[in-house]
C-alpha cells in the first residue's frame, strides 16, 4: 500500500512515523490511550534503541511499526510505502518470548521462513548453514529447541529472521530473559550481525546499558501514553563492542538516559498502583 494521497513525503528516511497513536477500546470505559502521538524517522542502516518505563507502550510501538496492529491515528511508512494491516516484505521481528517452533529442529526452524517463501533446496541449505555458523549453532542443527538454553533458543529466532535478509529488524527485548553476561555477549553478536547485514535495527529494551551500548540513537519514552521525551545520540563508532561499557562516555550516556527516565518510571509505578 502506498502512502495515502495528500500525505506529504516527509523525508528519505527508511522508516517514518508521523502522529502514530494507539488507543485500546475498553468495555464501559474510555479507550486506553497507550501510545503517541509519535513522530520518528529511522535512517537506513542505523541501530535505534527505545527505552521507557514499563507499560509505556514500547511493544505497542513495535507492533504498529511491524504492521501487527494498526495505529488509531497517524501513519507509518517503510521505504515510502505505508504499513497497514500486515507485516511488510523485508521486515523481520524477534520477540522477547521464545518463539522457536518446538516441534522443529534448529535447522528446520531457521529454514521455516525460507520454505514459506518458496526458496529452493540449495538456497535454503546455503543460507541456513551460513546462519548456523554465524550464530554459533553449527553443532545443534539437529537438536530441538527444548534441548537448548534460553539464549540459544533466542539465537535460533534471530537466525530465522536473518536468513530472510530483512532490511528492517525489529527486536522486542530479545535478551530480556538472559543473564547480564550472556546479554553483553549476545549484544556483541548482534552488533556483528548488524554490521554484516547493513539492516536497520530498532531495539526495544528495558535495560539502559543495553540500549546505550548497542544503539546509534536511543529514544527515551515517557510513561503511558508513551511519547518520545528525547532522542539521545550516542556517537559510537560503527565498529564497537561490549568493551565500551568500561568507557566514561558510556557512563555519561546511561546517566543521561536514567535522568530522563527516573521521573517517568515513578509516574509509571503510580499508574500501576492506581490500576491495582
Amino acid at each position: 500500500m502506498r502512502r495515502p494521497a495528500g500525505v506529504p513525503r516527509m523525508s528519505e528516511a527508511h522508516v517514518v512515523l508521523e502522529g502514530v497513536t494507539r488507543m485500546f477500546p475498553r468495555e464501559g470505559q474510555a479507550p486506553l490511550h497507550a501510545l503517541g502521538p509519535i513522530d520518528l524517522e529511522l535512517r537506513a542502516g542505523e541501530f535505534f534503541g527505545v527505552v521507557g518505563p514499563s507499560g509505556c507502550g514500547k511493544s505497542t510501538l513495535l507492533d504498529v511499526i511491524a504492521g501487527l496492529s494498526l495505529p488509531s491515528a497517524g501513519w507509518i511508512a517503510i521505504d515510502g510505502t505505508t504499513v497497514g494491516g500486515e507485516v511488510p516484505e523485508g521486515v523481520g521481528v524477534v520477540f522477547q518470548d521464545d518463539a522457536s517452533f518446538p516441534w522443529l529442529t534448529v535447522w528446520d526452524n531457521i529454514a521455516f521462513g525460507l520454505r514459506q517463501r518458496g526458496a529452493g533446496a540449495a538456497e535454503i541449505a546455503e543460507r541456513v548453514t551460513r546462519a548456523l555458523a554465524l550464530m554459533g549453532l553449527g553443532d545443534f542443527a539437529r537438536a530441538y529447541p527444548a534441548q537448548l538454553s534460553g539464549g540459544m533458543r533466542q539465537r535460533v529466532c534471530i537466525a530465522r529472521t536473518l536468513v530472510l535478509q530483512p532490511r528492517l529488524i525489529l527486536l522486542d527485548e530479545p535478551f530480556g530473559a538472559l543473564d547480564q553476561q550472556t546479554r553483553l555477549l549476545m549484544g556483541d553478536e548482534l552488533l556483528n550481525l548488524w554490521r554484516q547485514t547493513g539492516a536497520t535495527i530498532l531495539l526495544i529494551t528495558h535495560a539502559l546499558d543495553e540500549a546505550a551500548m548497542l544503539s546509534d540513537r536511543v529514544g527515551v519514552m515517557s510513561a503511558r501514553p508513551g511519547r518520545f521525551l528525547e532522542i539521545v545520540e550516542t556517537a559510537w563508532p560503527r565498529e564497537r563492542d561490549s568493551r565500551i561499557v568500561a568507557s566514561s562516555a558510556f557512563g555519561a550516556i546511561t546517566g543521561r538516559l536514567w535522568s530522563l527516565l527516573r521521573g517517568e518510571s515513578l509516574k509509571a509505578m503510580q499508574l500501576e498502583r492506581r490500576a491495582e
Binding site: 511491524a66 501487527l68 500486515e86 507485516v87 516484505e89 521486515v91 523481520g92 521481528v93 520477540f95 518470548d97 521464545d98 518463539a99 517452533f101 518446538p102 516441534w103 522443529l104 521455516f112 521462513g113 514459506q116 530441538y144 529447541p145 527444548a146 534441548q147
Partner: protein
C-alpha cells in the same frame, strides 16, 4: 528398560499367571472363565479357521470409520470453536457435561434413521469419540503461545497456513491425547452397540457366544478386542512420548 516398565510387566504377568493358576486349580470354575492360555489358543484356532474374519473386519472397519470421522470432525470443530470465544463460552458447559449423556439410548432412534446396518453403531462410536477430540483440540489450542501466532504473521502466513503449519503442529501432543481417547471411545461405542441390536460384528458374536454358553469363543473374542485396543493405545502412547520428549515435556 526403565524400572517402572519392568515393574509394569511383572505386575501384568503376575496377574495373568494368578488367573491361570486359579482357573487350573478349579477355584475359578470353567463355567465362569477359562484359563488365559486357553483363551489365547482358542483365539488362534478361531483366526486360523477364519471363522471370525467377517466379524473382525466388520467391527474394525466400523471403528476405523467412526475414529477417522471423529478425529477430522473433532479437530475441525475444536479449531472453529476456539476461534469463536462467545460460542466457546456457550458450549463449554455442554462439552463438560457431554459424557453424562448415555448415547446408547439413542440407538433405536438411529436404527429408525439409518436402518438396521452398520451406520447406527458407527454414529454411536463417532458420538462417543468426537467430544474427546473437541475437548483436547481446545486444550491444545489454548496452549499455543500467542507469540507463535504473531510469528506466523511476521512470516506473512494466511489463516490456513497458520493453522496447518503452526497452530496444529504446536498443539499436536494434546491432539494426540484426543486421538488416544477417540480410539478407546470409538471401540466402546461400536462394540457396545453390537451387543444391543446389531446383526453382526465382534460385540454381537461375544453376546451370541455368551447366550450359547460358548466360553471359548466368547473369551477368545474378548481377548482379541483387548489385544487390538492395547496395541493401538500403546503404539500411540509410544509416539506421544517421542513428541513430548522432543519438547522437553517428559
Amino acid at each position: 528398560m526403565k524400572l517402572a516398565t519392568k515393574l509394569r510387566i511383572v505386575v501384568l504377568v503376575a496377574a495373568v499367571a494368578a488367573v491361570e493358576l486359579l482357573c487350573r486349580a478349579g477355584i475359578i470354575k470353567a463355567f465362569t472363565m477359562i484359563p488365559p492360555s486357553e483363551m489365547a489358543l482358542s483365539l488362534w484356532r478361531l483366526v486360523a479357521a477364519g471363522k471370525a474374519h467377517n466379524d473382525m473386519l466388520r467391527t474394525l472397519s466400523a471403528v476405523g470409520v467412526a475414529l477417522f470421522a471423529s478425529i477430522v470432525a473433532g479437530a475441525a470443530a475444536g479449531t472453529a470453536i476456539h476461534s469463536l470465544p462467545r460460542v466457546r463460552r456457550t458450549l463449554d458447559p455442554l462439552l463438560a457435561a457431554y459424557y453424562s449423556v448415555p448415547v446408547f439410548v439413542f440407538y433405536p432412534m438411529f436404527i429408525v434413521i439409518f436402518g438396521l446396518n452398520d451406520r447406527p453403531k458407527i454414529v454411536i462410536g463417532f458420538l462417543y469419540a468426537v467430544a474427546a477430540m473437541i475437548i483436547n483440540t481446545l486444550n491444545g489450542l489454548d496452549r499455543v503461545a500467542p507469540v507463535l501466532r504473531k510469528t506466523a504473521r511476521v512470516f506473512r502466513m494466511g489463516p490456513a497456513a497458520t493453522t496447518f503449519k503452526v497452530v496444529l503442529p504446536c498443539a499436536a501432543p494434546y491432539l494426540f491425547t484426543g486421538v488416544k481417547l477417540a480410539v478407546a471411545y470409538s471401540f466402546i461405542g461400536v462394540v457396545g452397540s453390537e451387543f444391543i441390536l446389531s446383526t453382526g460384528g465382534l460385540g454381537y458374536q461375544i453376546g451370541f457366544a455368551y447366550h450359547d454358553f460358548n466360553n471359548r469363543t466368547m473369551y477368545a473374542l474378548i481377548l482379541f478386542i483387548l489385544a487390538v485396543t492395547l496395541i493401538a493405545n500403546m503404539s500411540l502412547h509410544a509416539w506421544e512420548k517421542v513428541l513430548l520428549a522432543r519438547r522437553g515435556l517428559l
